[in-house]
Every structure is written in C-alpha cells, then in structure tokens.
C-alpha cells in the first residue's frame, strides 16, 4: 500500500514526459502557450456545466480550482484575456493586444469574448502575488451572428476554441484553458445560430467539493463515534476510585 502513490506518481511523470516529448516532436513553438487544463462552459445560475444554448444564453467559464497565471499583474505585468478562435487555430499559438487575441495567420475570426453588457473581456488583472484568475464575467453571444447581421461580428457556423488565457505584458501567451464550442445554423435564434459545448466530463470546479464534503462528514462521524465508544470502554474498565 505504501508504494502505490509512488507508482502513480511515476506513471504520471512518465505520461507527462511522453506528452512533452510528443509536443516537441510535432514542432510546437518554443514560445507557445501552455495548456493548464480544461475550461468548462458553466451556467452561472447553478455553476453546473452548460452544454447547449443560443446567442442570448448567459454562460460563464469555469477553470480548475486555483487556476492562475505563471506571474501576477501587479509585479510582473501578466494579464488575463479571453478568446474565441476557429478550431483550426491552435490556442497555444495566440498572442494578445489591447484589442484581444491574434494568431500567426491573423485569422479574421479571432475575437475576445464579450460579456453580457457588451464589453470585451481583455487585459484583466490577476489577483496580487498568486496570479490567480479572478472575476471572470458572464458572457453571451449577442455581439456575434452567423452572418454579421446588424452591428454584430461575423461568427460562421463551425467549431471554435473558446477559453481564457494569460499573457505577459508584451502579449506573449503564458497559460490557457480551452474548451470547444460548435455553432450550428438556427433560423429561430436572433443571431441565426445555436451552440453546443464539448465540456470535459470531469474537473468541473464543484465536483471535488461535492465528493469531499460527504466523505469528510462520514469520516468525522466515524472518528467521533470511535472516540465515544473508546471512552465508554475505558469507563467500564477503569477501577472505581475511593
């Protein structure tokens, strides 16, 4: 039993090495951003994964617990950005400016996400020292449409990478959290399209808590009960003082 964790750690290390080696073999640029895990499209009302919606559906992005940039804003000028780019654009190739994301091919469909009040989520500050990503707003797709109708930006049907990224003061990508969304034409929607999210099946922020709390409850009851039983036994066995 004692050696099991070491075995798991060794397997994890080996898997990491293989992954890193594989990325190097496929020629990922040295300056490329690094995935720091999956992003999850969430329903802000319940904080549960949200897998489908329309252009006016409100959603937000969940990141793994304590998701953070490598460095913070206050001391090191790192900032938090949002992005939606076509699936053909690898999110690890992005860089960021005061207007949002861009990639080496200058794909015209690279955009920042836009919050429910119509403001792009760009160059947000991290928490001091920890670099933690904080205050991710609520979003919708009202600023976009399938055919750039009205004053909206063009977002043709297809699959896109959507996520949150950190970048240095010079806009060089640091780490990112990605999830894919697929947009499908839908005449009934005001923007002419609806979406589905390829949310990860695990790593939703609240899942560990939902599991840990009942387990801790059982553990505490067990310990408390054990102590009470122990005390009763000792009371029975203790000699009567005179």
């Amino acid at each position: 039993m004692k050696f099991k964790p070491r075995g798991i750690a060794a397997k994890f290390a080996a898997a990491t090495a293989i992954t890193v080696g594989g990325l190097a073999m496929f020629g990922v640029p040295a300056m490329a951003g690094t995935s720091s895990g999956n992003a999850t499209i969430l329903d802000p009302a319940s904080n549960k994964p949200l897998n489908t919606g329309g252009s006016t559906t409100t959603w937000t992005i969940g990141l793994p617990p304590q998701a953070h940039c490598t460095k913070d804003t206050a001391t090191n000028a790192y900032h938090v950005y949002s992005y939606i780019v076509p699936a053909s654009v690898n999110p690890n190739t992005l860089s960021f400016t005061s207007t949002g994301p861009t990639d080496p091919t200058l794909n015209p469909l690279d955009y920042p996400l836009v919050d429910t009040f119509g403001s792009p989520y760009i160059a947000a500050n991290t928490a001091p020292n920890t670099g933690q990503v904080i205050q991710i707003p609520q979003f919708n797709w009202a600023a976009f449409s399938i055919d750039a109708r009205g004053t909206t930006a063009s977002l043709p049907a297809g699959t896109y990478n959507v996520g949150i990224a950190c970048a240095t003061g010079a806009g060089v990508e640091d780490v990112f959290w990605n999830v894919q969304k697929t947009f499908t034409a839908a005449a009934s929607d005001p923007a002419g399209e609806t979406w589905t999210a390829a949310n990860p099946t695990t790593s939703v922020p609240e899942t560990p808590t939902a599991i840990l709390l009942p387990l801790s409850f059982i553990a505490i009851i067990g310990v408390g009960g054990g102590m009470i039983v122990l005390r009763r036994r000792r009371n029975i066995e203790a000699p009567i003082a005179v």
């Binding site: 802000p44 009302a45 319940s46 904080n47 913070d72 804003t73 206050a74 001391t75 090191n76 000028a77 900032h79 400016t97 005061s98 207007t99 955009y111 836009v114 919050d115 429910t116 009040f117 119509g118 403001s119 792009p120 760009i122 160059a123 947000a124 500050n125 991290t126 928490a127 001091p128 904080i134 205050q135 600023a143 004053t151 930006a153 003061g169 010079a170 806009g171 609240e206 808590t209 939902a210 709390l213 009942p214 801790s216 409850f217 505490i220 009851i221 310990v223 408390g224 102590m227 009470i228 122990l230 005390r231 000792r234």
Partner: protein
C-alpha cells in the same frame, strides 16, 4: 481531565459533522455556488487619470466628494452608463491629491491587482499614460524624482490599467485625424467648455486687470527677464504652470508661443524653475511667489476660468482662498471682458469669453478608438460617445455647470469623437 477532553472532542466532532452536513446540503441546493450580484462598483468602473482642471468635476461624476470634508460637503449623482451596458461607472484619480503638489503627486494603483505607477499629473501625462496602457509599454513621469516602484526608466506597468484620460485640450496640432490601425488611435470626445485667462497680483491696484494679447505675447516671449514694463513704470512678471499641463499647453498655443520660450520666460522672471512645476489652477502657490514682489512689481499666471469659478463658489477643492483674500483675481483680455460674472459663491462664466475661438476651449475625454467601434466596449460608449452619452445628459451637464464649465456652448459637439494618434 480525560473525561472532559472526550466530551470536548465529541462536541467538536458533532459541530464539524453538522457543519459538513449543512455545507453538503447547501452544495446540493446550490446555495454555496451562487455568485454575488453586487460587487463594489469600483470592480467594474472605468478608470481615468489626467487633467487637473477637471479633476474635481470627475470626482463628482464618480460619486466621490470633490470637496474636503466640511459643512460644504456635497455628493453628486454618479455618471453611469445605460442599463443595457451594465450601468458602468467611473473611477477618477486626481492629478494632484489633496495635500499633495505638482512636484510630489505620488503614485497610484489604479485598479485592483494592478501595479503601482506615477500618478499622471495633467492632460499631457494622462494622455501619455493612456497611450502606454494601450500599447503595453511601461510609463513614468520624467519630470518627477523617483517616488514609486517603476518610477525610473523604463517605468511602471500601466497595461490595461487606464481606460480614459481627462484632457483640457484637444489633440496636438497636426496629429488629427488618425489614419493608422484603430488599435493605435485615440479619440478625443468633447463634453463641456472652459476658457483660459490669466490670474494676476498687482498689490490690489487693478492696474493689470486687463491686458492685451500683444502684451501677454511680449511678456511670455521675454526669455531675458520674463517681464514687461507698463506705461506707469511698473513691472509685470510672467509665471507659467507646469509642463505637460493641458492648461499650460493651451495658453501657450493661444499666445502663439512655444513651451520652451514660455518656460524660459517664467524661469527668467524668478517665478519658476525650468521646466516649471508650478501647480496649475492653484492660486495660493502662485501667490507664494507673487507676495514676495515689492510694490511696483506685479505677476500673472495662466489659469482655467472654470476652475477659478468652481473654487470660488465652493464646488471644488479650494486651492486659491488665500490668494483671493489678497487681491489675486482673474484678468480680462482685449475686449472679451472679465472671464466670469457675479461674485462668490455665485460666480458664473462670461459666455463671450468662453465663446472666444482663441481663449475658449472644449474639455475632453480621451479613449482608445477601437473601444468605441462596432465591436467596442458598450459600457465606455454609453458613458462618453455620442449626444446621448451619459456625460452629455442634462444631469451631467448641470453638474459641469456647477464646476464653472459652460455646457450649452458645446452642445452641438458633445460626445462627437475626433481621432488622433497615440501620444497626441
């Protein structure tokens, strides 16, 4: 003892178990997952820096008390955008904090989690700092001694920390309109009108209550003595306010004199160092110099009329009370008349003076042009862009009028953006 310990342990276990159950229950019903809906307004407010002239007005627009705590304390309705754009508000950092000075304005952390940097002092500083915030290059105030982290070259991190600059001047001549990519453009948006004249001290004789443009040009062009001699033999000395101030730049442009010349004249008169660190719109500091002059020697300094009125009426932080009590007043230029009418606390703009194409000026908000575009920032647009913007509303214009600025004269152009390059 053992008996007691066991009881205590049992109680702790019971409390923890109960807490765990409640937390689990909360988790199940989603109580602990609900996001707060009323974070502090400052968390989403747009941050502005820059002009001294309109710092008090923007204090009012941000809902802060623009006057030191006293019986005269008054709060104004904060400027806020439309409901559809989130009712966004503003946070405005003064050019000079109460108790501070142009030579030591200190440093600020403009947004939560941001870095510390030099407090931008004046329109020029504000526009420069905004430009650095847009192109993500460090910024510091080169006129100041090191006082903040990042104060010396290359400077502090301002990227993303500033959303707008307050400016008492428009784009520099020759820099408008911007023809480069929108990301590297600024937009100047007028919202009210001011005028600039000279404040003077003549020992209460009123012999320089009116000067001509020609006299002022001669005065600020004299880099040898920084003075002119009146017909009665009295001498008038030139004072210029700090370099980078929108008021300073506007005054120099109105007189057709370069900054270098005006700074040299002011230094030659003994009024300031070169470059000047004389705080604009603070007549007390001007009086500190003027009061040392013997009889027969007078002095003048450039001054925002709106700021003068707002201080005299008690709407803004009063940095001129001592000077006013010792005969410092605003002077008339040519046939425009005295730039304000009435007496404190009911002084009002002289519309003829404010209408002058030479001495009247529009006050501006400066923002990144791309944030005003179709795919821009709805909150920022709702606050500043177009005739229906919050800053052009009747309420906001009434507040501007209380601070000595004329809102009606700019009516036709309120909210209409003019583009210029970064750093213009």
């Amino acid at each position: 003892m053992k008996k007691l310990n066991l009881k205590a342990a049992g109680r702790v276990a019971a409390i923890l178990a109960t807490s765990s159950m409640m937390a689990t229950l909360g988790n199940l019903v989603g109580v602990s997952q609900t996001q707060a809906g009323a974070d502090p307004a400052t968390a989403s407010a747009y941050v502005g820096v820059g002009s001294d002239t309109i710092q008090d007005l923007f204090d009012a627009y941000s809902g802060a008390n623009p006057y030191p705590a006293s019986s005269a304390t008054q709060y104004y309705t904060p400027l806020h955008g439309s409901a559809a754009s989130g009712n966004k508000t503003i946070s405005s950092w003064d050019a000079i904090p109460a108790g501070g000075s142009a030579s030591a304005p200190g440093c600020i952390v403009a947004k939560y989690g941001g870095g510390s940097f030099d407090r931008p002092n004046g329109s020029g500083n504000g526009i420069a700092a905004l430009s650095h915030a847009i192109d993500s290059t460090p910024w510091f105030n080169p006129s100041l001694p090191a006082s903040c982290t990042g104060n010396t070259a290359p400077g502090g991190n301002v990227s993303g920390q500033i959303d707008f600059a307050r400016s008492s001047r428009g784009p520099k001549a020759g820099t408008s309109p911007c023809t480069a990519a929108a990301a590297s453009c600024l937009s100047f948006i007028p919202f009210a009108r001011d005028a600039v004249s000279f404040a003077y001290f003549d020992h209460g004789l009123n012999e320089i209550a009116t000067l001509t443009t020609a006299q002022l040009q001669q005065l600020y062009s004299n880099t040898t003595t920084g003075s002119i001699t009146l017909a009665n033999g009295n001498i008038v000395k030139a004072c210029i306010t700090q370099q980078g101030s929108g008021t300073t730049g506007f005054w120099e442009t109105a007189l057709g004199i370069t900054d270098a010349t005006a700074q040299a004249a002011s230094a030659a008169s003994g009024c300031t160092a070169n470059p000047s660190l004389l705080e604009e719109n603070g007549a007390n500091q001007f009086y500190t110099f003027a009061s040392t002059l013997p009889a027969g020697q007078d002095a003048v300094v450039d001054f925002s009329v709106g700021s003068w009125i707002s201080q005299a009426n008690g709407a803004a932080l009063d940095r001129s009370a001592t000077a006013r009590a010792n005969f410092v007043d605003m002077g008339a230029i040519d046939a425009l008349g005295k730039p304000y009418t009435g007496t404190a606390p009911n002084e009002a703009p002289n519309t003829t003076f404010y209408n002058s194409t030479t001495y009247g000026r529009n006050l501006q908000v400066v923002v990144q042009t791309s944030r005003l575009g179709t795919f821009g920032d709805a909150g920022l647009k709702s606050l500043f862009l177009g005739a229906s913007a919050a800053v052009c509303s009747a309420s906001a214009q009434t507040t501007a009028a209380k601070f000595g600025f004329d809102s009606t004269l700019v009516g036709g152009t309120c909210g209409t953006a003019v583009t210029a390059n970064l750093y213009s």
